[in-house]
Subunit: 245 residues, 3 copies
């Protein structure tokens, strides 16, 4: 059983993040909140998202899971104005999800979750830690996209750097301690990543968000941030690209 009310902005934020990786998602529902773990079809990135009951306006649930087509949720979100409340009810008999926004009721078939196993989130020991406003890197990413399809992240001393190099041009964004919330390094940590994945995620994060980044040498990066006043949490892992040179 699952029945909840949520602010349309909160739901939109959740869907925007998840849909950078997958079209269909399985939410594991518990009485005190829900969780989602997903990898993209190419197994390059993984998301681990949790939402506490407190992120909802109303939340009543037994242990269950629901599989949803994210585009259908987006359709419903287009009908809602900022501040609108969206009501969600699981119709277990018909295995449907019923969404209400204002006078409008949308009934949607759920996606079969029997073959959607939760990926295992690996434990990683990443030596560098950087905490900063996501807005600081959103502009850098836009610049990088016009020169290359990969991006190197480097944490060294008190400096966090984004660097992209194409055939003729390069872009870099150097952030010093004063532009960061926090930085902790043990020597230099540098890894190269596919720019599209990194960019899609970073652009989907609301610009007033603080993100926490764990970085290693030629190792996955872990990007973490909160939403819904700390009642929601995202962990995002992105695999490195092997540098050819």
């Amino acid at each position: 059983m699952f029945q909840a009310k949520i602010r349309s902005d909160t739901l939109k934020g959740i869907v925007n993040i998840i849909s950078t990786l997958v079209d269909e998602a399985k939410f594991n529902i518990q009485p005190d909140g829900m969780n989602l773990k997903a990898v993209d079809p190419a197994h390059v990135a993984m998301i681990d998202l949790s939402i506490k009951k407190e992120a909802f306006e109303e939340y009543i649930a037994d242990e269950t899971n629901i599989g949803v087509d994210l585009d259908k949720i987006k359709d419903v979100l287009k009908l809602a104005s900022s501040g609108d409340i969206i009501e969600m009810t699981q119709d277990e008999e018909k295995s449907r999800l019923v969404l209400k926004v204002g006078n409008i009721v949308r009934r949607m078939n759920l996606v079969d979750t029997s073959s959607m196993a939760d990926p295992r989130v690996p434990e990683l020991n990443l030596p560098a830690y950087v905490e900063l406003a996501v807005s600081e890197i959103q502009k850098g990413i836009k610049a990088a996209e016009s020169v290359s399809d990969h991006i190197a992240l480097t944490a060294d001393g008190d400096t966090f750097e984004l660097f992209s190099e194409g055939d003729t041009d390069s872009v870099n964004l150097k952030l010093e301690k004063s532009q960061l919330v926090e930085i902790k390094t043990e020597g230099k940590a540098r890894s190269l990543f596919p720019l599209d994945y990194f960019s899609n995620l970073v652009k989907a994060i609301p610009s007033d968000t603080t993100v926490r980044i764990n970085l290693g040498n030629n190792y996955p990066v872990k990007i973490m941030f909160n939403f819904a006043d700390g009642n929601g949490q995202v962990g995002y892992l992105l695999a490195p690209r092997i540098e050819s040179d």
Copy 2:
């Protein structure tokens, strides 16, 4: 002879409504106003639009008719700001219409109306009557478009309902007496319509308009509304779709 001045917003409203059905239109012009009757090429819908002389800032006309290409009128409307006055003069010798907006003069060839007979508007006896703000149904239509290509309208008791059903999903919008201006029913009236026609019309109606709807059982729907402070009037008839099941 025909010469008139009209507010660009009024003309835009008229063109938007008519161009949901046809690309070229014949206006029957009289000394006290003009009228247009048109059916779409597939004969699914019919429009009957009248504009009194009073809807114009200036209006001088003998009995005549003019055939216009609506896209050309739209071109001219793009040059006008809200509040601008558009001057229209029939140049009978050259069978042209001359439109002036600000310093700009656009001369356009008229469309030959000799083969454009006025359709006969059928008399229909439709038992249910609903009057409501068009804005109430504009959102419901947007929701319906993501699940199906047809829409059922139902008036029953004190309730007016829009329902669309696709293969996996459905959308409905139920409006109670308190959300309607008026509803009169004799039993249940329900008909199914092609969503694109219904949607194109409803979206073209300014959102602060009150519409009057006559509905029957598997019968055409008649949608009526006024514009230009009651000096313009639209009647729109849409043929039902036969339900297969």
Copy 3:
């Protein structure tokens, strides 16, 4: 050697004008400012643009020239907000241009200018002179585009007129002395021009700009205007189209 700081809006204005004609441009740099002369690949129009040192926030240069890909400059401009300062430094060793906006550094390969000879700007004796706000003709151009692909400019007495004629429709915009800053004519001057060139230029000029036009009979038109508080100057020559009539 070339090193300069410029307001992003000023640089955007310059790039917008030049890129109506060419994708790559050679700037001739002098200690007191820079100059660019370019013709489009079809040799229909020519631009002669000068920018004084005073148009920059900072400007230090020896005599040199730099060839740039305008799309790359546009990429960087997209990262800047109105009011941002863009820093440009020539890296002579690597024949690169380094652009900084905020924390972001973009390094771009320069275009080889060895084969980019400056076109010779012809001396023309054009009898009519018209000075007016470019906004007066921006609307007329939009109107003309929906009927034809050429435009006739006529200066006669105290009147400046734009006229476009298609197969069925025509558009004209007549500006009287009161709508012009100045007009000087010796008899009638009339020439026909390709509308796309004329339109691209006129739309790229900021709408609060006063333009000066020299016109003849079946002769090129010269359009001149200032930017950057008079510290920048554009002369634009457009070849006439021969009228077939």
